[in-house]
């Protein structure tokens, strides 16, 4: 290893010592002033390819074992509770559509959300209630948490598997919007249209 400078060493020590992921500000509170982001970038590079990696998850950083070594470490550890199919689908819908109301989740799934489904996801710490939607009835929306990104190894929501393709294909748009787009296609002919954000 190349010998790290003082700040890199300090950030490294703090990241390793922390029991939870740390944001840049939290790291700075321990190591003092300095280019913490640069130090984090250096560490991420230093540890790439090693048995442990320094990773960013939604603006928070932590150290974790490399994914390809899972088989060495999995023994005698509890498998996290298996999520039901409804739970997985609901979580995916929230992650890819957030903020999203319960009614919108149900519109996509075509069934009512069973009582425990959102509870389980909240208990796991992966979702939380977001702002209320400013429409009649002011329904609550649901969003994912930083712990969701941490658990599923996502740097951010942009890192969600296939999200760009889904968005490009309009598959994250509501049916109504997609329908208008699809009907419009007949006239104008294919693509090039309407991407959000």
């Amino acid at each position: 290893m190349t010998p790290p400078d003082d700040l890199v060493r300090a950030v490294e020590a703090v990241l390793f010592a922390s029991a939870e992921p740390l944001g840049v500000d939290a790291i700075r509170a321990h190591v003092g002033d300095g280019d913490v982001r640069r130090a984090l970038a250096t560490l991420a590079t230093d540890y790439a390819g090693r048995g442990v990696n320094v990773v960013e998850r939604g603006g928070r950083w932590h150290v974790q074992t490399a994914g390809d070594l899972a088989h060495l470490l999995r023994r005698e550890r509890d498998e996290p509770r298996k999520l039901s199919r409804a739970g997985i689908e609901t979580l995916a819908i929230i992650a890819y559509h957030e903020p999203v109301t319960r009614a919108e989740i149900e519109a996509i799934r075509g069934v009512q959300t069973a009582r425990g489904t959102l509870d389980v996801l909240m208990e796991a710490g992966w979702i939380r209630p977001g702002a209320r939607r400013e429409v009649p009835g002011r329904p609550l929306t649901w969003v994912t948490t930083p712990a969701f990104l941490t658990h599923f190894g996502l740097a951010g929501r942009r890192d969600l598997p296939g999200i760009d393709d889904l968005r490009a294909a309009g598959l994250l748009d509501p049916v109504d919007l997609a329908f208008d787009a699809a009907s419009g296609e007949d006239a104008s002919g294919e693509d090039g249209e309407a991407d959000d954000e």
Binding site: R77, E89, A92, I108, A182
Partner: protein, 242 residues
């Protein structure tokens, strides 16, 4: 329909009719954009018929979907009447769009679950030293607070001297003497107010009334006066015993 297309009649396995439709569509083609809605409708209706034939209890929403699909099927087969809204082709397209969306989310969920998950595939440090924040109190007080506090202590400590303001009162003894003298041998009832000193007002009148009332009770107890009151809070009358 070939045997390959046949889905086991496992009713508990479906998350609602849309889920069943998606499974049927997937069996038909991987690309949901290219499926035949008419064929899908047939498959669904067949499925529901078989479930009924087996006397399996189907949840209401499966039957609602079946009814709607049967309507869609007939609309799709009949020559199109432009006056009829909504356009069945449009309904079919919407159904297809819904299936695509559900399918996309199902795939996304599967990909999400297959990621390297913290605590299952990748692990945090087993024994982190932990970070600690030591809080130091920075005590705050201002000069006014200190001086005012000393004032409060000093005020608390000055020798306590209670000076009772000079006020006119009628003692119980004086009232007994006065009421006893006035009631004398009077035979007619007289209200208690008549026994108060002339010109008594304010706090002194209140004191005289209270003392005279107590005096009347005491005299009545001694049999030296009779009391009469029609009801609670009614005027109180006194006279000498008969």
């Amino acid at each position: 329909m070939t045997d390959d297309d046949t889905l086991t009649l496992d009713l508990d396995g479906w998350e609602g009719p849309l889920d069943l439709l998606l499974a049927l569509a997937r069996a038909q083609k991987v690309d949901l954009g290219a499926i035949s809605i008419l064929q899908l409708v047939e498959q669904y209706l067949t499925y529901v018929d078989r479930a009924r034939a087996l006397r399996l209890e189907l949840a209401a929403d499966y039957l609602v979907m079946a009814a709607w699909l049967a309507y869609l099927k007939s609309a799709l087969l009949l020559p199109r009447d432009p006056a009829v809204e909504p356009d069945p082709e449009e309904l079919a397209l919407r159904l297809q769009l819904r299936l695509e969306r559900l399918g996309a989310m199902r795939e996304a969920g599967a990909r999400l679950m297959a990621r390297d998950r913290l605590g299952r595939d990748v692990f945090p440090r087993g024994a982190p030293e932990g970070l600690r924040t030591v809080r130091h109190a920075r005590w705050q007080a201002d000069l006014y607070g200190v001086i005012a506090a000393y004032g409060a202590v000093a005020a608390r400590n000055r020798p306590v001297m209670h000076v009772v303001r000079d006020r006119q009162v009628m003692t119980l003894e004086a009232a007994i003497a006065r009421v006893a003298a006035l009631v004398g041998a009077a035979v007619e009832w007289r209200a208690i107010e008549r026994f108060l000193p002339d010109g008594a007002d304010g706090a002194f009148r209140a004191s005289a009334l209270a003392s005279s009332f107590l005096a009347a009770l005491e005299l009545a107890r001694q049999g030296r006066v009779e009391l009469r009151q029609e009801s609670a809070f009614a005027p109180l009358f006194l006279k000498a015993p008969a």
